[in-house]
Subunit: 508 residues, 2 copies
């Protein structure tokens, strides 16, 4: 039954299936009597990494966890983001399809472009820039505000001049996963919504007034390019557990979560849906909770798994406050948070000390294993409490208050307090911040909106939560630097802390 | 039997099949007893268009022709190039999947990115530039010679400066279909050959000496990106005739032909294989004959269909010499050349006068029809002579002499004579040409090669054959301007005539 419906909206795409999730969800909405599951979302998040390029093992954990749950007879699935092929291919980072026994099938395709989704989003965003250029030629625009994107990182594209030798317009190209169109694909539930949101994107300004794309482009040119890019890909772990992969925004400079339609489709097909939100809990999890759940109708998680490595947790004493903070902060908002320590080779002898350490910290009993070596098998006997917590955590925690109407600064203060542990009085403004905020507010007003109705996206370094995480708690600050609105995605980006958000990582 | 083999090397890819043509051909080579066909290649080429953006209808003709052949019980198939999505999406040109009754299934996917092949080639070529930048950082290179590419045209990218504000390196971005990696994909018969050719690409220079990519990059990073991009897509006409689509180099600034492996695979499966080579016969057909056939082992065509529109042929008296020239020039090299006049609405009453006109010109009996309106049906009764010619034209015409060893200038003179009708004494050198040629020759020598062993690619405007096609025959000249070598693809590009080869067309 449910599988027939899935097949109806699926098509084979090389080694993957692509799923028309929009069509699937519309079918369910139009046919309320159709049998479906009401799966619960579980977040896999992590400690703040010591270096952005070093993962704690969220994907590996996610894979091992669904394999373990399924071994126990529970219908679990995972929803992952698409890895950034550009970064993988350039050698800055390994792939993002798990490792060892906790792996996905066909990693060589997942890591290297999947079914072309990222490439299509890149082409569509760049086409928007081309149309904006034409609008300049036609006298409709005098400044372009949308950036060009590239999936392949290139040092020299960090700062470029276009129309060189004539108008010499300074630009910077950004990585495709950071762009507004990627956010729109993640947050939308239909192609019509995508078209509306692209139409509401600010192309640029004319005489200082914002001009939206909807006023001058044929939207079908964009939606034609995105046709299959909006469809999640379906694959499996090497153990045969179901995995959906869709969209790949970065968590530090964007929203860091997979496509919401993919998650909702997975919830209609499975009992537990593990959603990976990276980097650390201060980035991906914060964004799932405060952006996706509070503002875009995504499910509030029934539980969280907070991944760390033994070394991340303990090696830098000045930063060792972060991991317990993340765990406690999730518990505070009603999300049972389970520590999971992803061991590396040679760390098995640390299990006892890690357990004592966790007990001292007041954690739930930690789940510990070398998931690369042992896969989901090592988790099967350790997840009783986790399974109970998910089963027991019912809908009352799901509907969360929106922050809409709260001022941008108050929303950031709330994020700083809950997600970084910094109180309002230590959220400080860098020179120019207020001016940047006022300009952004004016832009939104000029297109008939209110900046306080946009969802706040914290743009920050993935490796820090405050201006200096190594300072004592009472000295930690968060500095607000700059504001940028994305009227199509409905987001307001606020740059804060050390913002080492290089849009073009170095080739290594 | 043959279909089992095809299925073995095929995988479903959305509405298309993707075919591992390299694997299919290797299987045939390794298993000489395996049943296969030995299909004959027929070129569909055209008159030189009056404007590059206005097609004569080569794709429509190709589709109608295979539909007509199959209606007559002949196993015909077509091999097409992938349309440039960027140009289609930007509105500069319609799609390229036929029209009306002579259409392909699923044009919305064919015209808008197919299965992501072009996007993968773009990413791989840009990654090469990124690795070249790293080589500069590492002191291995001091000048980069490979261009960045974009499938989406953008006016402002015609001239850019990268690393702006620091080193201000002037660059121009070119359209993806024009790049060397696209040529390599077209000309190669295996992934190993692709890797070897990418390794032989000139990354740039160090102290004036060329440096090849093979000396500093991991080739698997490139071949991983190209994994499915090297596979032709299989689709069908609305009448159910088989069509293979692979790669899309432009004919004016590149080689303008589909992937050779796709053509060879099609020849192993069908009796007549129609290959579309655009733009006019002076571009695509010249390149099929002199580059693909003479230098890369592609089959010499058994016949050609030369498409024109009634208006192209007759509207500009000063240019009316071109169409008969193309027809005669193909006949001269043993290729029976059939005029095909693709009528538009309201032109039916011209059929009689077109036939007289053709008779006066000494043509074979022209094939005439409104293919958009009537499809292949209108051709069925008109192609007796064509079918006989293909059947009668045997292998003796296939093996053609290579131009290797002939100097670059002598090869260009030969092309100018045979393809543009301009004798050697009117092939003239622009100031700087000889210097450019000498530099190019030196570069090839420095990497152990000989420029006279590279295949010559004429880089020119698609709308002109000489410096001024409207002059009387005895005054027409061809001016050689500049030389650029592509050591990986094994090509030497010679810019000539008016070279209106804007790498970034204007958005319209």
């Amino acid at each position: 039954m449910a599988d027939e419906l899935f097949e109806k909206f699926s098509s084979q795409y090389g080694v993957f299936k692509k799923i028309d999730a929009f069509g699937y969800l519309k079918h369910l909405a139009d046919n309320p009597e159709t049998e479906r599951k009401r799966g619960k979302v579980v977040l896999v998040t992590a400690d703040t990494p010591l270096k952005a390029s070093r993962g704690e093992g969220k994907t590996t954990t996610t894979i091992a966890l669904i394999d373990a749950l399924r071994k126990r007879g529970i219908d679990a699935a995972a929803v992952l983001r698409q890895p950034s092929m550009g970064i993988t291919s350039a050698g800055s980072k390994g792939g993002a399809s798990g490792g060892g026994k906790a792996s996905l099938n066909n990693p060589e395709f997942i890591d290297w472009g999947l079914c072309g989704e990222m490439a299509s989003i890149e082409a569509a965003q760049n086409l928007l820039v081309s149309f904006a250029e034409k609008a300049v030629d036609d006298g409709l625009l005098d400044e372009i505000l949308v950036p060009r994107v590239s999936e392949v990182p290139s040092r020299a594209l960090r700062s470029i001049a276009v129309d060189y030798g004539k108008s010499n317009i300074a630009e910077r190209m950004v990585l495709t996963p950071t762009c507004e169109l990627m956010q729109i694909v993640v947050l939308s539930r239909s192609m019509d919504e995508i078209a509306d949101r692209v139409g509401a994107m600010t192309a640029g300004t004319k005489d200082g007034k914002p001009v939206l794309f909807g006023s001058f482009i044929d939207m079908w040119r964009i939606t034609n390019i995105l046709a299959t890019a909006v469809q999640p890909a379906y694959t499996e772990t090497v153990e045969g557990s179901p995995v959906y992969i869709h969209a790949g925004p970065f968590a530090n400079v964007s929203i860091g979560i997979p496509g919401l339609a993919a998650v909702e489709m997975a919830c209609a097909r499975h009992d537990i849906v593990i959603v990976e939100a990276g980097y650390g809990a201060d980035a991906g999890a914060q964004k799932w909770l405060d952006v996706a759940s509070r503002e875009y109708g995504a499910q509030w998680p029934s539980a969280a798994i907070v991944v760390t490595r033994a070394s991340t947790w303990r090696d830098d004493p000045a930063l060792s406050w972060r991991y317990p903070f993340h765990v406690a902060r999730l518990e505070e908002v009603g999300i049972p948070a389970f520590p999971l320590i992803n061991l590396w080779d040679g760390e098995d002898d640390q299990i006892d000390s890690l357990r004592s350490f966790a007990a001292e910290a007041g954690f739930r009993r930690p789940i510990i294993g070398n998931l690369f070596r042992d896969g989901g098998e090592v988790l099967v006997s350790q997840i009783d409490e986790f399974v109970e917590a998910v089963a027991g955590n019912e809908n009352e925690v799901r509907a969360q208050a929106s922050n809409k109407g709260l001022s941008v600064v108050d929303t950031v203060r709330k994020i700083a307090k809950t997600a970084y542990g910094v109180p309002a009085e230590r959220v400080i403004f860098k020179d120019g911040f207020e001016q940047s905020l006022a300009q952004a507010a004016e832009l939104v007003s000029a297109v008939g909106g209110n900046i306080d109705d946009l969802a706040v996206v914290a743009v920050k370094s993935p490796a820090t939560m405050t201006d200096n995480d190594s300072l004592p708690e009472e000295e930690r600050t968060v500095t607000l630097k700059k504001v940028e609105v994305r009227t199509g995605a409905g987001l307001v980006h606020v740059n804060l802390t050390t913002s080492l958000t290089t849009p073009m990582p170095k080739i290594v």
